[in-house]
Amino acid sequence: MTVRRGAVGAPAPRVEGLAKVTGSAAYAYDRPVADPVYACPVQATIARGRVVAIDGGAAAGVEGVLAVVTHREAARLADTADAELAVLQSDAVAFRGQFVGVVLAETPEAARQAAGLVRVEYDEEPHDTELRADRAGLYTPEQVNGGFAPDTDEGDVDAAMEAAAVTVDRIYTTPMLFNNPMEPHTSVAVWGDGGDEGGGGPGEARLTLYDSTQGAHVVRSTLARVFGLPPERVRVISPYVGGGFGSKGMPHAHNVLAGLAAMAVPGRPVKLALTRQQMFSLAGHRTPTIQRVRLGAGADGRLTAVAHEVVEHTSALKEFAEQTAVGARMMYAAPNRRTAHRLAALDVPVPSWMRAPGEAPGFFGLEVAMDELAQACGLDPVELRARNEPEVDPESGRPWSGRHLVRCLREGAARFGWEERAAVPGTRRAGRELVGLGVAASTYPYYRFPGSRAVVGYDGSGRYTVRIGAADIGTGAWTVLTQIAADALECPLGAVRVEIGDSELPPATVAGGSSGTASWGSAIVAACHAFRGAYGTEPPPGAEAGADMPRDPDAERFAMHSFGAQFAEVRVDADTGEIRVPRMLGVFSAGRIVNPRTARSQFIGGMTMGLSMALHERGVLDHRTGHVVNHDFAEYHIATHADVVDVDAVWLEEEDAHAGPLGARGIGEIGIVGAPAAIANAVHNATGVRVRDLPITPDLLLR
């Protein structure tokens, strides 16, 4: 069953747009609360060891300070299985920047001043933060993020490489990267015993959190477990969220710290916002990767072997294994394929999700290697990819629900003026600039996660309310869910009000894996149909019906992925090596596009983050101290307005008949995938210099 066209497919303006342009949208820290207390964390200044003494005396003496809480004073948590969330539970330090205390005060200035006066003595142990492919202690995780097997091996890659007419065998690296949503991670926590917004009976401890999260429900269920409360006594409210890109997809230590701190001042809300600098050790990051990619092909470019073997880091405190090589399992037809993930557990902050975990770094290695293979074979890079299209998913053997990579490549080549690309690198010049074009392929899986429920209500005067505890982190969820409900109810857009961003609403899965529209949207479609089924088109006032997200039998029968082709033009100053990107074009196949206005922003935003990854972003870990030294926007550079000239995204008009009732496969992440490789390949085309380590900086091009 598909939903009729009407609101879906139209470029509806953002329903919360007015609130956001007038400054009235209340993000977590903006929410007016009575009698607030301000929290400032104390962070470890060593990367590994133990706290042997803490002197909070001077801090406690600062006027306005209410409490200094360390592992000695903090309440014992009910569940410490997740070591990242076992905040202030012991004297152990597992990475530099970890919380070792928190100061509460009447003003943020007093809290910060006092936090600086807390004296912590450590028994420092030797730490280890350096990732190298040849280091000792690399291990194979049980699985990698997404539940995938860490290794796969089909056929005989080594023999195929030996026999191949043309081979590529190179190492590619990507650095430690940081999500850096514009809104810092924020939790405003208040413990009450009923009567506040948390509700409930007197005497029952209840925790209310105004939070900046991609999933109010996962924060609620996690904190309930950690604090030993039934979930109904935790409420998480997060209507407006200033970006996340994965870093707000699961609770981090600051959520627990806010809850612990608020215990010291029951009834008073404790406001905790990480500073930009603190985010670099406490809000997740993307692991650095060292990727060995081997490609073997015939002289005609047809692949006989693909191997993608990755070394990356995790934190010794808690494992997160990025699935960097998983995309190589399904991308190209080759009878011999191998992928592997090896981890080093280091004394570093806990890595986590960052936009397109796996594909974003993995397709730098794979797609630059494909460019190198095209060059080695004397083939056009578009043609090389077209020759290696698999009929079915090489990994599962399942048919594709819709694989239109070649159409994306051909359409993009035509639109971008690909024929102007110089076949010989370094030969096209405009004044003092070297000009190059590059291409890379892109993909991202279709995910639809079970666990969401939507409830539709009618007020008797033509207005429908759709309630689901989903999150809009800037994606446009608020708007597209309204469109989906309007079409499913067959009513005008203006008759539907969607409520999201509150754990009191029916459960919803996290805004992650580009899954929101498909997951929440199909629950909404089911609820709207249940509502019409029960009440018809003339519902009585107060009518209400709900439904869970229906099962998706096609997801087991088909290989379901979005695809894209990324094109970039670069201009490199021949004297200074300065790299500019005057044009980027992405052509995507992502199933049905629910809202072209919000979708275009998602694609372009992803591509620009890819540009940023290609040219600017690099977290610098000082191995002597375990410190990310460039921990702010002054030194960790992200693309600014001046870096972006002409970035455009288009898409194939299609519906994926197997992707649920909406036919939409998700668009939040694919925009970043392949973009850095397209730029790196364009740099090679411009200069003849092959850069295999991100970011690409001018010094690498001056020889």
Binding site: E16, K20, E183, P184, R276, S601, G605, M607, D632, D648
Partner: protein, 157 residues
Amino acid sequence: MRVGFTVNGREETADDVWEGESLLYVLRERMGLPGSKNACEQGECGSCTVLLDGVPVCSCLVAAGQAEGRRVRTVEGLAEGDRQAPIQEAFVECGAVQCGFCTPGLLVQAHDLIERVPRPSDADIREALAGNLCRCTGYEKILAAVRLAANRRAENP
């Protein structure tokens, strides 16, 4: 100390202001104007941009005492009564808003640009907004919105 200045046309005062307290903090936490955002607190991202006597500043870097007796305009004061400023309308229309956290600062900065430069070139816009970071939109639609608002303003001054 007591600090008094005009905010969006209204006289406001704040008592017990600490000497190092930022204008951003006073606006957000004492005057009930949380539109201006704190995203880096060191003047690198522009999310806290306000007009101080008509000049865009990062309010996180301005001590509240420096605003004494002066005029401050924030995102909450861009609209004329019920009518949004052209730049506000254009941001919604062009899809220049995503998560919205950088939006208030960008609006103030862009509003200032089109007040000063009636028909800004793309290079003017990029340069003027280069200090306002956005992590969501990729900037393209922000550029489109500023062009649109500038054109409308030039046609109906």
